[in-house]
Amino acid sequence: MRKSLIIAALPAVLAASPALAQSATGTVDITGSVAGRCMFTLPNKTISLGEISLASNGKLDVSKVNGRNETLTGWCNNTAASMTVTSTQLTTPTAATTGFDNRVDYTATATANSVSATDTSLTAGAGSGSTVGQFSGDILVTLSAASSPTNGLMVAGSYTGNVQVTLTPST
């Protein structure tokens, strides 16, 4: 009676053993990253204002500046991306004597992803940044609030300036 009990127990032990003895699992974890990034796919445009003085009195014709616009294109791939604008006044090299101006100031507004950033050329440096977020598409640059320092007569010559739009992936 005692022996028959030992034999009966052995098959039960053998049946449980094969799974533990023949397989194993190893894991390779894979990681990567995409950095926050912004790019312009169309980084340069030009707004040609033509004649900017009034034929009637020789002063700045603000209608030749205000409302003029151009469109850059670009993208940012992260929600924290910001946009700043730096506007540089229009100038001509010829000196301005009393009664004349050789500079045109203005405000530039860049709009992308329904977010705007502005800067006036009356003060140096960039304007305040705006969070533009993740987007891909147009960056509309519009000029407004044109003025000359004394509302004087405009010195003859060619005038040049520019608007720089900077997209930064993280603040």
Binding site: D29, P43, N57, A156
Partner: protein
């Protein structure tokens, strides 16, 4: 072993990451414009110089040119918006509306000097030298070049009213003209 493999892949990824993380981009919209060189003369004030009676009405100089005081005309807020401009003055002598050739001893012309000042150094002046019959009535003079853009009231002064040979003036209405031209010095006569 599992942990060692994971660390190896991570180490490979790290060197490439910093260059991407800080990328910003700048786009530029250039703006250009121009202002055309232009000169504008203010409206003359007065627009008409009325000398009234120009001959003496009595005395030894009866019917000869009277002494006429200088006549001043202002061209306010005249300007050129570029460097290198000049004022030209052209005068046409006063002549009688009666164009008949005058008899000997008579004149139908009155000469004068027009001088424009307050633009550049010196002045621009012209003196008419019409003959007594009114021929050759015009003269012109050019001033010095203004080296800077300038806005100023140009003053034109009419002086030195004379008749050729100080002859007796033919009766009638007399008229003459002063033309002031403000423009680039490079324009030829």
């Amino acid at each position: 072993m599992k942990r060692l493999v994971s660390l190896a892949i991570l180490a490979l990824a790290l060197p490439a990451a910093p260059a991407l993380a800080q990328d910003s981009a700048t786009g530029t919209v250039g703006i250009d414009g121009r202002v055309t060189p232009v000169c504008i003369l203010g409206d003359p004030d007065p627009a008409l110089v009325d000398l009234g009676q120009i001959s003496e009405s009595s005395g030894p100089r009866t019917c000869k040119i009277r002494t006429i005081s200088p006549q001043v005309v202002r061209l306010p807020a005249s300007f050129c918006n570029f460097a290198g401009s000049v004022v030209r003055v052209s005068t046409t002598a006063l002549t009688s509306s009666d164009t008949t050739a005058p008899q000997p001893g008579f004149s139908r012309a009155v000469n004068y000097t027009a001088t424009a000042t307050n633009w550049a150094a010196g002045s621009s002046a012209a003196t008419s030298a019409a003959l007594r019959d009114g021929t050759s009535p015009t003269a012109s003079g050019l001033g010095s070049t203004q080296p800077l853009p300038r806005i100023a009231d140009i003053t034109v002064t009419l002086t030195n009213f004379t008749t050729p040979g100080d002859l007796i003036l033919v009766a009638g209405n007399y008229s003459g003209t002063v033309v002031v031209t403000l423009g680039p010095a490079a324009v030829p006569d």
